[in-house]
Every structure is written in C-alpha cells, then in structure tokens.
Symmetry: C2
Subunit: 305 residues, 2 copies
C-alpha cells in the first residue's frame, strides 16, 4: 500500500485504470448500441454481444494513458479509444468465423457466429467497423475537424492493408509458408502493432504534437506491440483456456510460425522482457505522467489472459 | 445526333459520362491498389478483382452528376465517388459469401471467394471498407478538413446499422418473415437507398449547401434509390444472367419478398416509372446543369444490367 500522499505504485495505478476503462467502455457501448424495435434487432444484439462485457480494453487504456502525458480531455480520449476498440472487436468477430480461425469461444462466451449465425457475424463485424469511423467523425471526439480527420486517416491506415488486415493476410499465409523472424516481426507489427500504434498516435494527434516529438512514443508503441504479441503466443501454448476465455494451442495446431515456435519459449520470454524495458526507456523524457504507460508495459507480459 | 452547338440529348450525355467514369474509376483503383511484393499480395489482388473492370459505377456517376450542379472540382468528386464505390464493392464481396447469398458470379466474373477463398474475400471486403475512409480522409479529396470529416460521417452512417448493413440484416430477416410494403420500402431505403443518398449528399457537403437547400436533392436521391431497387428486382425475375453478369431468380428461390413479389411486375414497373418522374420533378429548380442527373433517373429503370 502506498502511504497517503505518496504516488500510487504502478500496479495500483494500473488496477484502478483497468477498472475505470472497463466500466467506461461498457457504458459507452451500451449507449451507442441502442437496440432498435425493428428487424435490425439481431444485428445490434450481435454487436453488443461482441463489444460489451469482456476483453482487457488494452486499446482504450493505451489511448487514456498516452493522453495523460498531455493532460488531454478524458471524454475525447475515451471516444478515440472506443473507435480503436470497435476495430479490434470487429476483427475478432471476423477472425473467429469458420472461414477464418473457426473459434467457438471468445472472452469466455460463445463467439458471435456461434451465438447468432455466420451472416449476422459478418454484418456485425462490418457494422462495428463503420461505428469506429462514425465515432471519430463526431464532434464529441474533438472540436477541431482537422484533429478528427487526422484520427480517421490514422485509423483507416492502421486497420487496412497497411495494418491489421494486411497482417491477417500474412497470418493466413504463415500457415502454408515458412517465414523467418524478420517476416514474422513484420507480420505482427501489422496485425497487432499498427492498431496499438494508432492508440498512442491518437493522443499525439490530439495534442498537436510535432512529428519530431513523436519518436519516443512511436518507439514505445512498437516495443509494447511486439511484447504483447509474444505474450499472446506464450499464452497460446502455456495459458489456461478457462482464464484466457478462448481456445489455446491453436497456433501449433494450425502449423503457424510464431515468435515462440521460432525462438522457443525461453528466448521468446526473454525477448519480451527486453522489449518492455526498451519501451519504458523510450519514455525517459516524460515525468510521472507516464506512470500508467510504464505500468501497461509491465502488464503486457505479466497478464494471464 | 445533336446538331453542332445544340445541347446533347440525355442519352448521349449519359453514354459519354458512363464511359468517362468507368475509365476514371478503373484508373484510380489501379493506382490505389498497388500490388506489394510480400505475402499480402493475394489480399490486394482480391481487392483488384472486386474493384477493377466491372460494374455500372452508378455511385461515382451520381456524385459526378450531383457535383455538376455546383461546378465542383472533378478530382474531388471522383474521390468521393471512389469512396462510395469502395463501400458498394466491399458489400458485394461479403454479400456473395457462402454464409450470405452464396453467389458464384458477379459482374460476369467469378466472385472473390470463388476466385480466391472465403478468408481472403472477408479480408478483401474489410480492406475495401477501410480504403473508403482512407480516401475520404486524404487531402486530395478536399482541402477543407471540415468537408472531409462531414463526408466521413455521412458515409459511415450510410454504410452501418442505420444504412446498408442495417438493410442487409432486414434482407436476411425477409427470408423467414412476412414483410408488408412499408417494411420492404424501409428495407430498401437502408440497403441501397442510404448509399445512393450519400452520393448526392457528398456533392451538397462539398458545395457547403445549407440544409434547407438540400430538400430537393434528398427527394431525388430517395426516389431514384427506390426506382433503382425495383428495377433490380425486375431484372432478378426478367433479366438475362449473361447480360446482368450475375445469377437471376435468386429472390424467389430464397423466398424473399420484394417490390415485385408484393406488387406484381406490372404495378412494380409502373411504380418505378412514377418514381423516376417524381425524381426529375425534384430537380425543377436546377437548369441544364441537372441534365446528367435527369438522364441517370431515366437510365435507372431502362438498364438491362
């Protein structure tokens, strides 16, 4: 326990921030996804099933933590975080489809196509994809249209062929090709790193930070993105499905090369630790306002789900 | 043939505009969808398969025609039209999937999931979805960020639960429920009308048109949207698959109610004609600069594909 007046430890800071962001994100999605009294009802129910009540909310948390560096408006940061979360959730819904990873469980619940059907899951993913941009375009996200359009541009890039979707395509190719470590690194930078990068970038955009001042933040995002993915790969071989809320052992089963298959678990774990230290070193120019970003870096590899 | 100096007839105007927009759209997609020399290659190839060399390009044509009312920059109009076409094409790619309409042919070619596979088709649709917003966010679309963010907001709304995706959900429900004419009208307004509405709205946004001046244009978009859908329903029962480039008879087979099943072909055709006249009446305040919009209204129900 921290003494009164002492700054809270990283763990305490993280714990309260995680609780707060989970509640904020759930409440916001509950409001945004109002169930209509017409035949579109199952579509919105499927979106709610995917978006509400689950997940670590890492991406909204990252936007919030990066925004704390510049004392940005918490409401604005939440909106940008919600947009990133919409993209993340839509990608999970599509990724879980039988035509893709064919997963039955996600966040401890049946996946959307299991709870509804494949067609509804496709449309629910597509609609969450739209919701991300609708959120960013709204005035509540930021009063300056220039900031909003820059957020839109950054998110579209992080989500499309030059980001997440491009990484997923490489991930599919990884099942039938032999990729070396640089190619796997590039794959993961696209698949998960680009959207994590957006979360940090969103705060920089809102703070009107000149590009030369963004270098450290980009480095932080890059390093925790890779560390996050290595931790995910480790959870896939060592995790407990009851805790992760999704099936484990999928990568090896699919014959996918990962950091862990290429480096072995020990070296992969060591690499993740090194990346986390490196990520924190990128924050050296910031004072205690970077406390949450530092705590997130540690959490990325300590988490069990 | 129009005599020299005489304004071209609606048909001549339409013919040259259709040729021009097809070439412009294909050329732009060819540039935007540059094939990378890495494992993302099949993704971009699938996007090109879907987006290049086919389709009537009705949506880019509508943006162009509406922009002519206000003498807007053709390059700006093309970008907004490309964004609308990206959304249209992505929806076709997902709609054709086995989990949705399960179509093998589209625009006279194998559908994307047939030419590639289901997973690639899902990702190609998702990536075209992103591309739409990436295009709108770019400075080449309009120098004013306020215009661009308004385009983003309008497109996200036209594409999501309150537009196209919502209409597709209703369309799926229409296979197992009995819908009356007002519900079918609402379904079609969402499924095809919303995106057509965006195309006209895009020009109004770029022209900074005050909302009271948009009433006639909204009326035009509403009427041709419904007429377009009735014509589609008629083509589904009377069209020639060799000309339409896709399977026909699908609606009846799926037990879907359409304007044609509810009204019968004769009254449906009459209704479409009436809507086209009404659409043109909405343009009465505009001079010969509305010539292309008038010609498009006629074309909507005269086309054979």
């Amino acid at each position: 326990m921290a003494a009164p007046g002492e700054p809270p430890s990283g763990r305490a800071l993280l714990r309260s921030a995680l609780q707060e962001i989970s509640a904020d994100v759930d409440r916001a999605f509950d409001t945004l996804l109002d169930i209509p009294d017409d035949p579109r009802r199952p579509l919105i129910e499927a979106m709610r099933h995917a978006a509400i009540g689950g997940g670590k909310r890492m991406r909204p948390l990252l936007v919030k933590a990066a925004g704390a560096l510049f004392s940005l408006d918490p409401g604005h940061l939440l909106r940008a975080g919600l947009a990133a979360e919409c993209i993340h959730v839509y990608s999970l819904v599509h990724d879980d489809l039988p035509a893709m990873d064919n997963d039955d469980m996600r966040r401890g619940k049946p996946t959307v196509h299991k709870a509804f059907d494949d067609a509804t899951a496709i449309l629910a993913g597509d609609s969450l994809h739209d919701l991300a941009f609708e959120i960013l375009a709204g005035e509540e996200t930021h009063p300056d249209p220039f900031v909003r359009i820059n957020l839109v541009r950054a998110l579209a890039k992080a989500s499309g062929t030059g980001g997440m979707a491009g990484g997923q395509m490489m991930d599919i190719a990884a099942e039938s090709a032999v990729f070396d470590l640089p190619t796997i690194t590039r794959l993961q930078q696209l698949k998960t790193g680009a959207l994590i990068g957006f979360c940090i970038e969103a705060a920089a955009i809102m703070a009107h930070l000149p590009s030369e001042a963004r270098v450290g933040l980009h480095g932080y995002a890059h390093d925790i993105g890779l560390a996050f993915q290595i931790a995910d790969d480790l959870l896939d071989i060592e995790g407990d499905a009851a805790v992760t809320g999704k099936a484990v052992g999928k990568d090896a089963q699919a014959g996918k090369q990962t950091f862990v298959s290429l480096l072995g678990p020990e070296r992969a774990r060591e690499q993740a630790r090194m990346l986390v230290e490196q990520a924190k070193a990128h924050l050296h120019g910031f004072d205690e306002r970077a406390g949450l970003l530092r705590a997130i870096a540690d959490y990325v590899i300590e988490r069990d789900r």
